[in-house]
Symmetry: C2
Subunit: 135 residues, 2 copies
DNA sequence: GCAGTACCTTACTTCAAAGTGGGTACTTCC
DNA sequence: GGAAGTACCCACTTTGAAGTAAGGTACTGC
């Protein structure tokens, strides 16, 4: 008899190690290629669509729009469209989104810092592997 | 004149917002679908290949092997193969990998906790959108 | 002597993610 | 009056990530 019988609720039910757990999707959305960068950028404050596009190198309009929609649907970003000409749409983090953003921002910062270590590790690995092939 | 002229080194050069920055790849490896789960699992200590396979629901042998190789090459995971029969291979985190694992573990935990909030947000979003269509 | 175990690798296939190029509707700038 | 800016959407194509299935080794146990 497990912890959550009796009622069909989700007390402690979420488990990322379960293949069909919804937490997997939540995780995949915030750690997605562009999701990470959008969240990190928004941590700095409100941004317009084209500001995000310019800030995040290499993102296409399509992917940015798609990423923002996913994040909005999950309740991480708030979208405010002003019915003016030219169109003005402002994106901000929700409290929930700020929690996520803080974590991925840390990760992004860490990745930047550790680039030299990783590059060195890769060289070691590749050299060791090449050596094994020739031997 | 920028901060890093004079020498061709990489002082403060890493920037995740630059399309061609290596930090992008580092980030993508640790935040990859299976990478997150492998790192989080290894935070608990040494694991064998088949232990990881059993622990992480839904991962195929191919993807697990591939993920472990990527993480090993980047210097996050240490692989120790014992030449015995049947083969025994032990995976552990390197100090660098532990830094990454701690962060993604936090993210995984957070995702589990926030599943109800996200599910609720999605319902709101979908309901609002459906309403707009019918109106 | 065949199944089973452990740790993969390779080949083939599938499918979703991502890029490309177009269009919209309206305004301001030159 | 033509270009540029704004915030997208849509259709199409390409890429690459992932799943499936099979093979391979060197044994152990039945």
């Amino acid at each position: 008899m497990s912890v959550s019988d009796e009622v069909g609720d989700v007390r402690r039910a979420a488990d990322v190690n379960a293949a069909d757990c919804p937490s997997r999707l939540v995780l995949e959305h915030v750690t997605s290629r562009w999701g990470v960068l959008v969240l990190a950028e928004l941590l700095d404050g409100m941004r317009r669509f084209s500001e995000l596009r310019r800030a995040i190198g290499g993102v296409s309009e399509k992917m940015l729009a798609q990423t923002l929609q996913t994040l909005e649907r999950d309740g991480f970003v708030h979208r405010e469209a002003h019915p003016v000409i030219p169109p003005r749409v402002e994106y901000t983090l929700t409290p929930l989104g700020e929690e996520a953003a803080r974590q991925v921002w840390g990760l992004a910062r860490w990745a930047e810092d550790r680039v030299p270590s990783v590059l060195a590790a890769r060289e070691d690995y590749d050299r060791a592997k090449a050596g094994r092939v020739h031997a």
